[in-house]
């Protein structure tokens, strides 16, 4: 089972087409293992990307260097998935009224 400890989902806000193009370059780099939940398309739309732990440093450096604004949408993906699983188990265990 694939787990996602330390993985983060970043919400990136591009301010112009140049930054969108830089993000498209990033998405083309398959070594980083990025999973774009919302693709870089246009500065009017946010870009959401799931970043494997091993690429976090590089991606943050890239965004910092190019002064591309981002926020952390999900701090640790595995924590959220663990919560989802707990919820499923807990609510299944509850007898239906």
């Amino acid at each position: 089972k694939e787990t996602f400890e330390g993985q983060q989902v970043l919400r990136i806000t591009a301010v112009n087409e140049a930054q969108i193009n830089l993000l498209k370059e990033l998405s083309a780099n398959e070594d980083l293992g990025l999973d774009f939940w919302m693709e870089p398309v246009d500065e009017s739309l946010p870009v959401d990307v799931r970043v494997p732990f091993h690429s976090l440093q590089a991606v943050r450096a890239f965004l910092g260097y190019h002064e591309i604004h981002y926020e952390i949408m999900i701090q640790d993906l595995q924590d959220l998935l663990d919560e989802e699983q707990r919820e499923m188990m807990k609510l299944k265990a509850q007898p239906r009224s």
Binding site: D35, L45, R50, I74, L81, E84, M88, L91
Partner: protein, 305 residues
Amino acid sequence: SDDYNYAIYHTLNEINSFIDMLVQENPGFVSKIVIGKSYEGRPLNVLKFSTGANRPGLWIDTGIHSREWVTQASGTWFAKKIVTDYGRDTELTSILKNYDIFLEIVTNPDGFQFTHTSNRMWRKTRKPNSGSSCIGVDPNRNWDAGFGGPGASSSPCSETYRGPYAHSESEVKAIVDFVKSHGRIKAFVSIHSYSQMLLYPYGYTSTPCKDNAELHEVAGKAITALKSLYNTQYSYGSIITTIYQASGGTIDWTYNQGIKYSFTFELRDTGRYGFILPASQILPTAQETWLALMAIMKHANNNPY
């Protein structure tokens, strides 16, 4: 099915058991059609809600991207809603007097099973790609509508890999064959998440579709109905103008088959949880989406073609 817990996420087996239960409870109204098999051999189950023979049809599918769990959960709730409201809600009863409703809840069962067992983030189908170690095709890039154009990837390792050829995926081909053999599907709604949008063709070209004005009007009515419940904000428009260029998309193909009322939903949220929407939001999401679906089906019912 009254005791089924619609407010939590369920496994593939639980959803398939629900489907069989609903059929059992509603003989003569609800039936199950197996339109094909997934790559790994799982049945592609479609619920049919019918009150008479030889009716034109309205199609709804959820879960074509397997990790979008709120869509399969919403589809389950829609199924129960149809059964509960038929004979009570005058609009739905009128719709079902003139149309059959077809609902495919788990449109990508292999991927969905994989999200429960191995990788919660899985989106695509699970068919291996010859010559590559990467698995799966994006089933929303595999349709014969602008197939292979910009807005899909030719790399099997990409999340938007279009596949080796149009309709290469059995999960897609099964729907293609069903729509063609039925021949009288009049509305087609494919439900995704997330980003809260209601979209209509085209995605593969910036040329407006010939019914652009009407579809824009219907989408506006639908999201107004949706918003009336919990004030959830949606944007709407054609795929290419609202999100991005996407080739080989489902509703571009259905529209080009002559199914005028072709829409795609992107459900909650706007970007707090993304695909990991808390189960507490399943019911409000399904309830508000149903109002939009009813607006679309009502328009189709009032504007036969």
